[in-house]
């Protein structure tokens, strides 16, 4: 299998990471060597194996549905790069 520049551009779009030509070529090289390494898994037959989704063989605990922390607005907004009163500010989305 080989990951071409078109695929890199596609993944970069899905990842929301901008990639120029030079970076795309470097990434294609790196990803190809990593995926060559990963391909080793195809040696194994796994048709009848249950996928492991959690190592802990416990069920999730239930809890009562009650508010435990409130009035955190200032804390939530404190680290935002740009805010206006109680809102996060982003570049204009709707004209």
């Amino acid at each position: 299998m080989s990951i071409d520049l078109k695929t890199i551009k596609h993944i970069s779009k899905l990842s929301r990471i901008s990639v120029d030509e030079k970076k795309a070529e470097k990434l294609a090289g790196d990803l190809n060597s990593i995926f060559n390494f990963i391909e080793k898994l195809n040696e194994l037959k796994t048709d009848n194996v249950e996928p492991l989704t959690s190592v802990a063989e416990t069920t999730l605990k239930l809890r009562s549905d009650e508010v435990k922390s409130k009035n955190l607005r200032d804390q939530v907004i404190k680290n935002s790069p740009k805010e206006n009163e109680d809102y996060f500010v982003v570049p204009k989305v709707i004209e």
Partner: protein, 485 residues
């Protein structure tokens, strides 16, 4: 002053409890040594003035019943600390000041310890040499221009150089045990679910675990006792009966069955690692353990599995860094452009590479071939351990396939860097506890570690085995203070 920093955590606790030393004296000694050790670059953020103030306050009204009374401690910069910048080694969190505290660090402060600062690490804990940190690489106190391992490289360097009596790291694929092995220190990765993940910057949620990094096994047991608690803020935290690990620590391991997995004898493994392993087997026998040959047949598939599962989870976890809610933002022409520039400028090369791998393996048309396949192989790897534990109580392996390497030696070849974690990754995939203890030196005089892997929730047993073997090994770290002028 230097005598204070040479003491182990247990000795310092005893000195403070018996009023031979005050918290201020101890804190001042570690702050002064840290200040003289800037060349190691172990710290990202220093908080010395606050630490000295807290120590003074502690001494005014000392509570000597606590487990860590007035003990200064620096922690990996992946743990959120209220009101103190937490960067995860990334530009994207360069200005992030948490408004909340991680459960693990809160547990530590509740027992009387005092925060000295935040320690360097690979960006988002993605690396095996601390070279992916936005804040620069860290020096291994063992030798100049030697990596301290990673991702908890600032932590391993700081403990080995005695800038902090003890510390905590996180381990997703080996990030506590490999740096401990590279610096001649002890590092424990607990069972998945033992320590709360609340307030730890997430990398791969099904693998991440916090754990202690220490100068000896006893100190390690004491800190594990403090940090391991059930926490309802982490839905994967497990409510099991935890031991008083330090109090129950014993060197009596007579009759314990220790497995030696033949698949860990990998191609191209240096002879000195093989010799170290043989020596370890002899030490275990001397302690009264019974050695049994076992097989973990899917060992060779662990790294490829890890490099699907971990990046997949990372790509989801790191989607939150969008320049909107916190962290770095790059200006863009529109919203999408802002996202793309923020993430392109904010993340380093290794993090971008892993996000891309993760995004690809989860993308439409590839999910079954990669992610589902990896989850199935992960099951086979866990089954290997389950089968082995029918016959043995613990497993002994080398911690790493080599000693520490030079800064820059492996940065251009991601796969060769990934191979560092070949002995540690299977343990994370199976959710088991593992401890690395220093066990010898290579021809260059660099430390080498042995790993003891336990059954789930059986930390006490591997701590006991490590404690017994530590005495027989009688390891001495060769640290010359070369960085202090």
């Amino acid at each position: 002053m230097s005598e204070i920093t040479k003491q182990s955590l247990s000795e310092l606790v005893e000195s403070i409890k018996s009023k031979k030393l005050s918290s201020s004296e101890v804190t001042k000694a570690f702050v002064e040594r840290s200040e003289k050790s800037k060349e190691l670059n172990a710290y990202i953020t220093e908080d010395y003035a606050n630490a000295l103030n807290k120590a003074k306050k502690f001494d005014e009204k000392p509570n000597l019943d606590l487990k860590l009374p007035g003990i200064p401690m620096a922690v990996k910069d992946l743990f959120c600390t209220r009101d103190l910048r937490t960067t995860a080694g990334s530009k994207i969190l360069n200005n992030f000041v948490p408004t909340y505290e991680s459960t693990v660090t809160q547990n530590i402060w509740n027992e009387g310890a005092i925060l000295m600062g935040k320690l360097n690490c690979d960006e988002f804990a993605m690396g095996s040499s601390n070279e992916t940190s936005f804040f620069g690489n860290v020096q291994n106190p063992i030798d100049k221009n030697l990596v301290p391992g990673g991702s908890s490289g600032g932590s391993s360097s700081a403990v080995a150089a005695q800038l902090t009596p003890i510390t905590i790291g996180t381990d997703t694929g080996g990030s506590i045990r490999q740096p401990a092995s590279f610096t001649g220190t002890v590092g424990l990765k607990p069972t998945y679910g033992s320590c709360s993940r609340y307030g730890i910057v997430a990398f791969a949620s099904s693998l991440d675990q916090a754990g202690p990094m220490a100068q000896n096994v006893k100190d390690c047991a004491l800190l594990q006792e403090v940090i391991s608690t059930y926490d309802e803020k982490d839905s994967t935290s497990i409510d099991f009966k935890r031991n008083d690990y330090s109090k129950e620590l014993t060197k009596d391991i007579k009759g314990k069955k220790i497995g030696i997995p033949k698949e860990y004898r990998v191609d191209g493994m240096p002879k000195e690692i093989e010799d170290l392993w043989k020596k370890g087997i002899e030490y275990a026998k001397d302690c009264g353990a019974e050695i049994i040959d076992i097989s973990l047949p899917h060992t060779n598939y662990a790294l490829p599995t890890y490099y699907i599962v971990a990046p997949a989870e990372a790509s989801s976890n790191l989607a939150r860094y969008d320049g909107v809610k916190y962290g770095f933002r790059a200006e863009g022409e529109n919203l999408i452009d802002m996202y793309e520039k923020t993430r392109s400028e904010g993340f380093g090369a290794e993090v971008q590479r892993r996000i891309m791998i993760g995004t690809y393996v989860l993308s439409s048309g590839y999910y079954d071939a990669y992610y589902l396949k990896a989850q199935k192989v992960r099951k086979l790897i866990k089954n290997d351990f389950d089968d082995a534990y029918e016959k043995v109580d613990a497993i002994l392996t080398p911690s790493t396939p080599s000693s520490a390497f030079k800064i820059g030696e492996k940065t251009n070849d991601p796969v060769s860097m990934y191979l560092n974690d070949i002995f540690t990754v299977p343990v994370n995939l199976a959710g088991l506890p593992g401890i690395s203890i220093p066990a010898g030196h290579d021809a260059k005089g660099y430390p080498l570690g042995l790993q003891i892997i336990g059954k789930a929730f059986d930390e006490q047993n591997i701590l006991n085995i490590a404690y017994a073997m530590e005495e027989k090994i009688n390891f001495k770290n060769n640290i010359t203070d070369w960085w202090i002028k």
